[in-house]
């Protein structure tokens, strides 16, 4: 069973995933593997340079910051770049999945909904937190400005839309225990 876990920037999905990992659940970090593929997959690198220009290459690697600055200001290029990256990540995921033997696996992705990959998940967990708390967390851990965080949030789906499609919701507002919520979901998924 594939269980997707997602949440807006600063919601705390990585911490929730860490708890699942502690319980022995295999975790696939889609963002980590897609970055890794950008660094290692020569075919993907060539396709991206063909699309976005050779300027996005730096010391034989894709300069992710440069690529982001190009694609996030041009929706057409964003779609085309995603069309190159997502199938690669999907293939990598399939290979990884074939090696797992736990009753379910967690696929962690920041843009699970936005990329459409939630459609391939059997269950979806959304980690949510109040907007102000998310902004405070991101500012504290990354030092980026409030405006910049709000701009990034705007590029993600609205929280309400994600919650509508969620099978499980984890409240990470600093009051409810993450561990207790994860344990409850874990039990429920094992009994499925």
């Amino acid at each position: 069973m594939i269980v997707g876990i997602t949440g807006g920037i600063g919601a705390g999905k990585s911490t929730a995933s860490e708890i699942f990992a502690f319980l022995g659940v295999p975790i696939y970090e889609a963002d980590f593997h897609s970055k890794n593929l950008l660094d290692t997959d020569k075919e993907l690198q060539s396709s991206l340079m063909e699309l976005l220009g050779t300027d996005i290459s730096k010391n034989g690697l894709i300069d992710r910051a440069k690529m982001a600055s190009i694609i996030f200001s041009n929706n057409d290029l964003l779609e085309k770049a995603n069309a190159l990256i997502h199938p690669k990540v999907a293939n990598h995921f399939k290979e990884w999945l074939s090696l797992q033997d736990f009753p379910y696996i967690i696929k962690e992705a920041a843009i699970l909904f936005e990329s459409g990959s939630y459609k391939n998940c059997d269950q979806v967990i959304v980690v949510t937190a109040p907007k102000d708390l998310r902004i405070t967390r991101v500012m504290a851990r990354s030092g980026i400005s409030r405006e910049e965080i709000l701009a990034r949030m705007d590029k993600q789906w609205p929280e309400e839309k994600k919650l509508e499609l969620a099978n499980f919701i984890i409240q990470n507002d600093g009051n409810a225990s993450l561990i207790k919520q994860v344990l409850k979901i874990h039990k429920s998924l094992l009994n499925n």
Partner: protein
């Protein structure tokens, strides 16, 4: 007209009576007699009068000062020859001295009041030998003593708004001196935690700055400061913001347990001069949680994170989260 002339006539008649003929001699005798009678009366003992004296408090302990100045005048009821009373009444005298080194020993330590009439000799000794002090008013003098203390307090540089987002002060500002010896009443000294300089506006148009700045001194009676201005030296540098992930150190966990933290790392952000960027290592920082009381707090849901060991060339340090969830299990 008649009414004004009449007193003039009486005065003329009296003048004539006193200055002319045998009356004149009589008058002088009467006058001398009255004067001798007066002298004779004044030279006798047994006159009682109340005389007001200014007072001065001397020999206050070196570690004390007055918060509120006590009575500066006292009224002394004395018994003495009339001449002496007359002398005290007519002449202004130097202050009576209240020797606090003698008085303090008798003071109630909490209320600090002096019962004046229990110490008549203290005043008596300062008056003429023939004077006997009967009583003193007020009967109680209250002292509001402040304990005098000395304290060394740090000087802090007060900056106006950041002059530029990318520029910062390189290293720590050099302040000479960097601390001030403040002395004064304990009640005032205890409130002084540090002293700030006057606010300084930094333009960052030069690589460094040297300036003499006044200290902003708190108001308070009896406060004194070893210096009232400091020399400041600053160096500027271009700053950059950086972040790194730091593993949380677990301290004080009893041997029989193992602990899993969620998350196990914190994200640390800081500002550093570009020239020092490469110098920063994760090992420069220490983020830890103290679990020594974990057994006695079994219902605890979070562990609070603490930090230490920041390199001094780093500033604006933040880390997140500030507390973590955990799973405690037996080994």
């Amino acid at each position: 007209m008649m009414t004004t002339k009449e007193p003039e006539n009486k005065w003329t008649q009296l003048k004539t009576f006193v200055t002319e003929g045998s009356n004149r001699v009589k008058f002088y005798f009467i006058l001398i007699s009255v004067f001798l009678w007066f002298l004779s009366k004044l030279s006798k003992d047994g006159y009682t009068a109340v005389v007001e004296f200014p007072v001065k408090y001397v020999n206050i302990s070196a570690d004390k000062s007055f918060g509120r100045i006590p009575n500066d005048k006292i009224k002394v009821s004395i018994n003495s020859p009339g001449f002496t009373i007359l002398k005290y009444k007519l002449r202004s005298f130097s202050s009576l001295k209240i020797d606090l080194s003698k008085v303090e020993k008798k003071l109630d330590p909490r209320n600090s009041y002096w019962l004046t009439n229990s110490d008549l000799s203290l005043i008596d000794n300062q008056l003429d030998p023939e004077v006997e002090v009967r009583s003193i008013s007020p009967d109680t003098v209250y002292f509001d003593f402040n304990k005098l203390v000395k304290k060394k307090v740090a000087v802090r540089l007060k900056l106006k708004e950041a002059f530029s987002k990318d520029l910062g002060i390189y290293g720590k500002p050099i302040l000479k001196p960097d601390s001030v010896l403040v002395s004064g009443p304990e009640s005032l000294i205890s409130k002084i935690k540090f002293l700030e300089t006057e606010p300084i506006e930094l333009k960052g148009d030069k690589p460094s700055l040297k300036k003499q700045l006044d200290l902003v001194l708190p108001n308070g009676k009896g406060l004194s400061f070893s210096v009232e201005e400091v020399d400041v030296s600053l160096e500027f540098s271009k700053m950059t913001e950086a972040s790194m992930s730091i593993p949380i150190e677990i301290v004080g966990l009893p041997e029989k347990y193992k602990l899993k933290l969620f998350p196990e790392n914190v994200k640390l952000t800081y500002k550093v001069a570009i020239r020092d960027y490469e110098k920063v290592r994760a090992s420069d920082f220490r983020i830890y949680t103290d679990c020594s009381d974990i057994e006695s707090n079994s219902d605890k849901r979070y562990l609070t994170l603490k930090s230490s060991n920041y390199p001094d060339f780093i500033e604006s340090i933040h880390f997140d989260p500030k507390r973590v969830e955990f799973i405690l299990s037996a080994k």
